[in-house]
């Protein structure tokens, strides 16, 4: 009881402290009173401390099975494994909000600490913005969606959604939140810079690492979510264009645009308005993502976390977005470009087009995600926006972006001459061309037929069919453009290494190491590009060449799928943790050689609210160490009991889930299969006979996505590492701006 009260009042004290931090910092900004600003900063720290107290109290509730707490009752159960009890904090609405505000509180404290001796003129504005956001979330947690609401005493809880009981799902939301929340910091700096008419370089140079950090975590969170979907949902894919997936992709795209366009402002003092707008857009889209997840205005697989806080988020989003826009308009005279623009064929314009496409894809995703609402408003008809339209409409944009990824790093600043274009692009273009030709000659007839088919369809003015006919060309174009980008990156590395070897007489590994280490940001960026290309390869290969078979097998039977032989060896029934299930044991052969032993499982999570079922399940679970036959019989009886209860209740008393089995071909000795997954899901298993219905996918190149993700992480880490030259540059900028203001 003590923990519940402490948590409840802790949140209230945190709210008071955050509200005071906001008021005091606004007063400090108006009066330039240092004492008030100090008070504001200390209050924000106090607010964070009490948020942590509340989060710890809620975790105590989970770990001590305090089911009087409604939140604990809904997202935990006695039998829930401890890691999932801890992770259940973000399994639902109010806990997610608490995690969000706790991360924001921590980041606010870091911002206050790292800027305790610098950027003092900007700090009141920054503290005010951070304070407003923290206060908003704490108002929700105190008055709309409290995690400390008490209900009647209960002996057990409903438990976490079974699909969330997965290692990746435990780290995916915090990772995403680090990304979403992190964008608050550059946003706060930008708003403060605008409010204080200090629109120079300081705000974006100081927050460069914050932006990269948030971009990295949001991207990693998205990839983790994709991996979770791939290994958990059993449909062989990793991206379903679910509204909430889209909501995380949009700010990532605009942040990517910002990371590129800010280089133009840094080097040339251009695109100042655009950069401020991108930061505002990125932060607003982060809030929009939460609005979409929580409001339930659009149906989503993430519906497990919906509630009625949508209007509050909508209002907050409106104030943030339009208020910030008004401030930008007010400060337009301060945001004039400094440099001159010389040529359309230059890195500046290539970056501008890169921004156009990135923001264009984000806008397309936003438009298509919200199109059902628009359609209902305009025509009164509801429509569904499933994966096909997102894929068909977005792929051409994505391919154009891939092309620009190759052009950007090699094209000259200011003005590219014909000879520099030839020197820089001849080899990469040749690489792309040869790859295109090679892919074409793998299936020339199919491509020629595809062209004829496309022309026919376009002549018939069937738009959807024309988009569909284009699909056949996408893999070839992706591989060719990807090869072009890899060619540009290889050329950049080659030139850099050669220059170092000529100038300093260094060995190849030393020249490579020093080249990257002394230009971490630049070469880190190139490595990120390589990661992105690999991800594109993975998506193209797995989407275009996926094979699928659904087949029923009895133990002992064999199934042939795309060069693999699957032998269903047998099955066993289990009742462990909080579920019962049938584990199918399968041997996988290739060319008569056994390459893997796989276990795929079909699970049922019994609803523990039925005492009869709960007792039978717990009894069966205790038999796991007894005679195997007795144990199997006990689990089989559970299946029968569930059927019986469902007949009586007229509804499901279990939640099904699957554990897929995956065999990845990662041997370089079989290059044509490299990166391929053999993916197995049991759709249904008869507990008596073991006869099972298997869904099998062969996903070529899918592992390129995860390898690409790893490369991307490596590159991003390199780019974010501290750099002495950059620190020096920041110090110079600070001094220059202070001089200019004085």
């Amino acid at each position: 009881m003590m923990a519940v009260e402490l948590g409840y009042y802790g949140l209230f004290v945190a709210l008071l402290a955050a509200a005071w931090a906001t008021i005091a910092s606004v007063l400090a900004a108006a009066s330039r009173e240092r004492g008030l600003q100090g008070s504001a900063e200390r209050s924000l720290v106090v607010s964070f401390a009490f948020i942590v107290v509340a989060a710890v109290c809620l975790e105590v509730g989970f770990l001590s099975n305090d089911f009087r707490l409604d939140y604990v009752f809904h997202y935990s159960s006695v039998s829930q494994p401890i890691p999932y009890k801890i992770g259940a904090l973000w399994g639902g609405q109010s806990g997610s909000l608490l995690l969000w505000v706790m991360i924001l509180g921590a980041m606010s404290v870091i911002v206050l600490w790292t800027n305790r001796r610098k950027n003092r003129a900007l700090m009141p504005g920054i503290t005010a913005v951070l304070g407003v956001v923290v206060t908003f979330f704490l108002v929700l947690l105190n008055f709309v969606e409290s995690p400390f609401t008490l209900g009647p005493p209960r002996s057990d809880g409903v438990g976490l959604n079974p699909q969330l009981k997965n290692y990746w799902m435990m780290i995916h939301p915090p990772c995403l939140y680090l990304g979403y929340v992190g964008f608050t910091v550059p946003f706060a700096f930008a708003i403060s810079a605008l409010a204080n008419r200090r629109t120079g370089d300081i705000w974006f140079r100081t927050t460069r690492r914050w932006t990269l950090f948030s971009w990295f975590f949001l991207g990693t969170g998205i990839l983790m979510g994709s991996y979770w979907a791939y290994i958990e949902l059993g449909w062989g894919g990793y991206w379903a264009w679910d509204p909430v997936e889209n909501a995380s992709l949009m700010p990532w795209l605009t942040a990517t645009a910002f990371l590129h366009s800010v280089m133009i402002q840094e080097k040339k003092g251009m695109l100042k308005v655009w950069n401020v707008l991108l930061v505002i857009l990125t932060f607003s889209l982060s809030i929009f993502g939460t609005f979409l997840t929580r409001s339930g205005i659009i149906s989503s697989v993430h519906a497990f976390a919906t509630s009625d806080i949508g209007p509050a988020f909508g209002l907050f989003l409106g104030i943030v977005f339009f208020g910030s826009l008004a401030l930008v308009i007010l400060r337009l005279p301060d945001l004039k470009t400094e440099a001159r623009f010389e040529s359309l064929v230059s890195r500046e314009s290539s970056f501008l087009f890169n921004n156009l496409v990135l923001v264009g894809i984000a806008a397309t995703v936003l438009f298509l995600t919200t199109f059902p609402m628009l359609s209902e408003l305009a025509t009164g008809r509801k429509v569904t926006m499933g994966p096909p339209i997102f894929n068909l409409v977005n792929i051409p944009w994505a391919l154009f972006l891939l092309l620009l990824t190759g052009i950007g790093p090699l094209i000259a600043w200011r003005k590219a001459t014909a000879s520099s274009l030839r020197r820089n692009f001849l080899l990469p273009c040749a690489t792309g061309f040869w790859v295109l030709l090679a892919v074409f000659f793998l299936a020339p007839r199919a491509y020629l037929a595809g062209v004829a088919d496309l022309v026919r369809t376009m002549a018939s003015l069937d738009v959807a069919a024309a988009f569909d006919r284009l699909k056949i060309f996408y893999p070839a174009l992706t591989f060719a453009l990807g090869a072009f980008v890899l060619g540009t990156v290889a050329l950049e590395f080659h030139r850099g290494i050669r220059a170092r070897r000529v100038q300093h007489g260094e060995s190849f590994p030393l020249a490579l190491g020093l080249l990257v280490w002394r230009n971490k940001r630049r070469y880190g960026g190139y490595i990120v590009h390589v990661g992105i290309v690999l991800i594109f390869f993975g998506i193209a290969g797995s989407a275009a060449y996926q094979k699928e078979v659904v087949h029923e097998l009895s133990p002992g039977e064999v199934l042939e799928v795309d060069g693999y032989q699957l032998r269903y060896d047998g099955y066993r029934l289990e009742a462990i943790d909080d579920h019962l299930g049938a584990v199918t044991e399968v041997s996988l052969f290739q060319d008569g050689r056994r390459v893997a032993a796989l276990e795929a499982e079909q699970r049922f999570h019994p609803n523990m609210v039925f005492p009869e079922l709960r007792d039978a399940f717990l009894r069966a679970r205790t038999l796991s160490r007894e005679d195997p036959r007795t144990y199997q019989d006990a689990v089989a009886r559970l299946y029968a009991l569930i059927e019986h209860l469902e007949r009586g209740a007229g509804r499901e008393v279990k939640t099904p889930s699957t554990e897929v089995a995956i065999h990845a071909s990662m041997s370089p000795l079989a290059p044509t299969r490299f990166g391929e997954d053999f993916y197995l899901t049991p759709l249904w298993v008869d507990p008596g006979s073991g006869r099972a219905n298997f869904r099998v996918f062969v996903n070529p190149m899918v592992n390129f996505i995860w390898i690409g993700a790893f490369v991307l992480v490596l590159g991003a880490h390199l780019a974010v590492l501290p750099d002495a030259r950059e620190r020096k540059r920041l110090a110079v900028t600070l001094a220059l701006e202070e001089r200019a203001v004085a």
Partner: protein, 158 residues
Amino acid sequence: MRDRAGILVLLALSLAPFTLGPGDDAFQREYDLAARMILCDCGCSPQSVHDCACGRAAEMRTEIASAIRGGKTGTEVVDGYVARHGEKIRICPTASGFNLLAWLGPGVALLVGAAASVLVLRRWKHTSAKRDEVSRAAPLAADDPYVLRVQEHLKEYE
């Protein structure tokens, strides 16, 4: 036990479309067309009946297979679903009427955006050229932000 047998029969039926011989190409084509176009109404993320891994999708696959075995084409099956459940049962909207905005809008926006960008860049180029002429006549002041920025960059290379 009878219930279990019932479930097995239902499942066997749901497997029918996936266990066909090579002579059933026409069936498979029509079945694929319908199963990939109809939305699984299980309420999760928008997935077609073909892709969704849930129990409801299995039931719907059985319905579609039976309808096609009964002599309907894939398009007729989709039309039947649309008549019963409305347009939202399609995995994505048809490319006609207001929906054309969804299909063509982004592409048109890209072209318009690209054209606008080219125009903006040309204007910048023109303005820069003009400014150059002016600056040639009157050199920049020593405390001009651009000069300070250039000095800062030059210092890095010293």
